[in-house]
Structures are given as structure tokens and as C-alpha cells.
Symmetry: C2
Subunit: 272 residues, 2 copies
């Protein structure tokens, strides 16, 4: 395995860029191949069977780029596909859920944790399972928030309608007196100020993107796979692929990443 090979990162769309951004910050030498499945998003409302099939196609594409490790930067795909695909792969693969769960378990004081996410992530029950494996007495309350992604994509980050919807979704969590809330969908950190105001200062918000980048760093280090040569020759250090709407993706990625994204390539991922 070439320690200077790129890391593959994938998501159903743009949300996983928050994870890619953390990897760029914490491991500035690492090369990244990012894939966003913009033709088939959202994953959150699809079945396990379908999300697993899509994830396998994306992984086969990333393997053609000779990645040394893969990060599933999508909560739904992590919930539905990680356990299966990690048995099928020769290279290391991690998802966003375990790192977020571990941080929540370590940060709660009263043992009551809330998790919000898409219907797929929530109905999988995976956050509860993982956190209770780490600490069996943990009390987990989950709530799916299907309107958050469309509200973010409509740009209503600071808006009375978003406040109202968030208040409704979060009321069950407030009623359970949680002290830690996992933002179990990569779009949700963009609603952080609204969610923080509604939950109050005593509730810690956990963003799995940051913790996932830390986990990747430890994983690469442990396997002697940390890049020791950040040079890329003629290739772009960060390469972006999508299944649809490449230009829209480029604009969005440029707005949230530290450097301009020059190009996004569109591929037919279902052929992999």
C-alpha cells in the first residue's frame, strides 16, 4: 500500500465536505478524492438495501483511484453500509457515526444523549446501539428531522420558519433533559446557532465531522499510512467527483472549503 496515495471520502452530496474540510485542516499533506452522489441524493429516505448498493458502487469507483483508505462522510451510509463493506474491503474504511458517538458518550454528564438525523439514520437505530455498546447505561433519545436538509438547501439558516420547525422537532429532546446532542447529519452543523439557542447553553452539541478526521488521523498513523510527501506533481491535491450538477457543486464546495475548487468531474457512478 502506498502511504502517499489519496484518501477517498464520499457522501450523498455536499454535506460530507464538512468532513473533508476537517481532514484538510488536521492533515494538510493528505490528498483527497471526494465523491458526492448528487444524482441520487438524498440517502436519508432510502432503504438499507439501496443505500448499500449505492455505497458499493461508489467504493468501486474510489478503488479505481487507488485510495489507501475510505471515509464514509454520510451518516445514513455509515448506518446502513459500513458494517457490510468493511468486511469486503482490503483497505481501512471508517464512518462518521462511531467518532460522533464516542465524543457524545465522553461528554455527557447526566448520561442523557439526544441524536437528530435523517429518517434512514434514525430508523436504523445505530447511534443508540453504538453508544450503548460503549456505555450500557446511557439513555438515548432520537428524533428524525426530515425538513432540516431541504431548509438548509433553501438557504433558510436563520429564519423564523426554521426556528419553528426546529422547536417542534427538538421539543421531545428538551422534555427528556438531555445534556448532549449529536448532530447526526452532515447538513445540521449549518443550523448550529438555531439548534444551540433552542437547546440552551447547558446542552453540548457534537459535530461528528471533527471527530471523524481525528479518528482517520489515528488510523493512518497506526497503519503507517500517513502521507510523508504532500507533493502531487501535475495532479490536483483535492479532486472532486459527482454524479450530477458539477458546476453547482463546485460553487458550493468553494464557498465552504479553505481553497477554491477549480473543477468537479461528473461520472456515471451506476456503471461501477
Amino acid at each position: 500500500m502506498d502511504r502517499n496515495a489519496p484518501v477517498g471520502v464520499f457522501d450523498s452530496g455536499v454535506g460530507g465536505l464538512t468532513v473533508a474540510r476537517e481532514i484538510m485542516r488536521q492533515m494538510p499533506d493528505e490528498k483527497i478524492i471526494y465523491f458526492g452522489d448528487t444524482a441520487r441524493l438524498p440517502y436519508g429516505s432510502k432503504s438499507q438495501d439501496t443505500v448499500l448498493r449505492y455505497s458499493r458502487q461508489i467504493i468501486r469507483f474510489l478503488l479505481t483511484k487507488e485510495v489507501k483508505a475510505i471515509v464514509i462522510a454520510c451518516n445514513t451510509a455509515s448506518a446502513y453500509a459500513l458494517e457490510t463493506v468493511e468486511r469486503e474491503l482490503d483497505i481501512p474504511i471508517i464512518g462518521v457515526i462511531r467518532a460522533g458517538a464516542r465524543t457524545a458518550v465522553n461528554s455527557t454528564r447526566n448520561g442523557k444523549i439526544g441524536v437528530i438525523g435523517t429518517e434512514g439514520t434514525i430508523s436504523s437505530g445505530i447511534y443508540t446501539d453504538v453508544m450503548q455498546q460503549m456505555r450500557p447505561d446511557i439513555d438515548v433519545t432520537v428524533k428524525s428531522c426530515p425538513l432540516f436538509v431541504p431548509l438548509v438547501e433553501e438557504g433558510l439558516l436563520h429564519d423564523s420558519v426554521t426556528d419553528e420547525i426546529a422547536s417542534r422537532y427538538l421539543s421531545v429532546l428538551k422534555g427528556r433533559f438531555i445534556d448532549t446532542l449529536v448532530l447526526g447529519c452532515t447538513h445540521y452543523p449549518l443550523l448550529r446557532s438555531t439548534l444551540g439557542r433552542i437547546m440552551g447553553d447547558d446542552v453540548t452539541l457534537v459535530n461528528p465531522a471533527y471527530e471523524t478526521a481525528l479518528e482517520l488521523k489515528a488510523l493512518l498513523s497506526g497503519k503507517n499510512l500517513t502521507c510523508d510527501n504532500g507533493k502531487t506533481g501535475n495532479e490536483e491535491k483535492y479532486q472532486f467527483y459527482v454524479s450530477d450538477l458539477a458546476e453547482k457543486f463546485t460553487a458550493f464546495a468553494t464557498s465552504i472549503l479553505p481553497n477554491e475548487v477549480k473543477e468537479t468531474r461528473k461520472i456515471h457512478v451506476e456503471e461501477y
Copy 2:
């Protein structure tokens, strides 16, 4: 061509069932093969290229069922794919847009028509093009309403949040003094009472599903393709196929169609 063959109807999901329902009402003898692309919905935010590719796959699937005609019961796919695929096919194919546009042009008194739909349908400009071909002096105001589909799917049909979002989306149309509003997405008729209240009694709401069934009836009649034998032997008269979440589809379809849907079959449409 067998006049007793089924009619193929497809949509990105469940919305096209409103069109299937009208066909069942107006042509009770006709057999229907319905396909809902639930694994890849929504179409409204995808590119023309992708929607065309998906539509061709679905059409190839429907042709394996020996359909005698096809109805594209999805505004986005009608906008992006109809003109191309009708040149590629030997059987008649119609979409929901032309029938809705004709009704709007015939019903307006002041010549000012509004159209609401997904981003794909609206940015294609097709409703404006089609209506101005029919009557060049028509004044068309369009507005995309990306949150309506998620609000409907969240069940908020009669809700203060939906009222607020609808008021914002429709304000530009009210400001243009339209007297006719085309509900250019198959989900929108489910918001009819909210939309009607905001627009006021003087504005006619046009639902293309009804008009599309009328157009199909005339088309089949003109080509001597009207079914003259409603018997189906051992086969179900109405057959439903989806690309994901068959059971959820069955429940929804049963709730809006006149008869219980016994079974929905899941297929891998990308293999066609």
C-alpha cells in the same frame, strides 16, 4: 399494436398516482403499469442530462411490459425528456405539461398566468414556452417552490409553517395579478386548499393531472387504441413497480387510489 395492452405511467415517485387516478376514473377499462422511481427521487433538483437518462431507463423497462402508450406523469421529466424520447419511440408518449398549459391558456381572462413547480421544471422555462406558442401575448410568471414537496411528504398539508412558506413563494405571483395558477408539480394539488386561500377566489387553480387523462383518452381514441376488453385474466389490472421502498409505496398508493393496491414490485431500473 394491441389495443388491449396496458398504458405505461411513470413519475419520480408517488406524485404521478394523481395522474393514474384520473386515468382510472376517465378510462376504467384501461390497464396500467405504473413505475415510481423512489430510489432516485426527487427529479426536480437534477440536471436535464440525468433526468433524460433516468427517463430512458424507465421507458425501456415499460417497453418490456409491452405498453401501447406512455404517460410521463412528472413535470420535471416532461420538461426535460419528452421532446427527445418521443422522437426515439414507436408508440405514443405524452407528458403532463402540454395539457396543463392548454387549460391555463383557455381559462385565463386577463392573460396573466402563474406557474409553480420544482427548480427543474421552472428553470427549464417549458411552461412559458409552451403557453406562448399557444398564445404569444400571454404573460407568464413562474416561481419554483422547493420546500413544497418535503412539506407534503412530512404531512404538513394544513399547517402554519406551510401557510408561511406558501405566502412567501406566492407573493411574487399575487403582485403580478395573475388570474390562473398552474400547479406544475404532481404533489401540489395536495396543498390546493392552502394555495387557493392565499391566492383568493378570483384565481383559477389548474391541476394538469385531470387534463392529461383527457388528452390520453383523445389520443388513444384517435389511434384506435382504446381498450375494448377490460378483462385481465390472471394478471392484476393495475400493476405497480418502484425502484425502492415498495411497502411504503403500497400504503401511500392505497390511500389515494380508489381500490386497494395489493402489491408493489421493486426492480433495479438502472439495469434497463
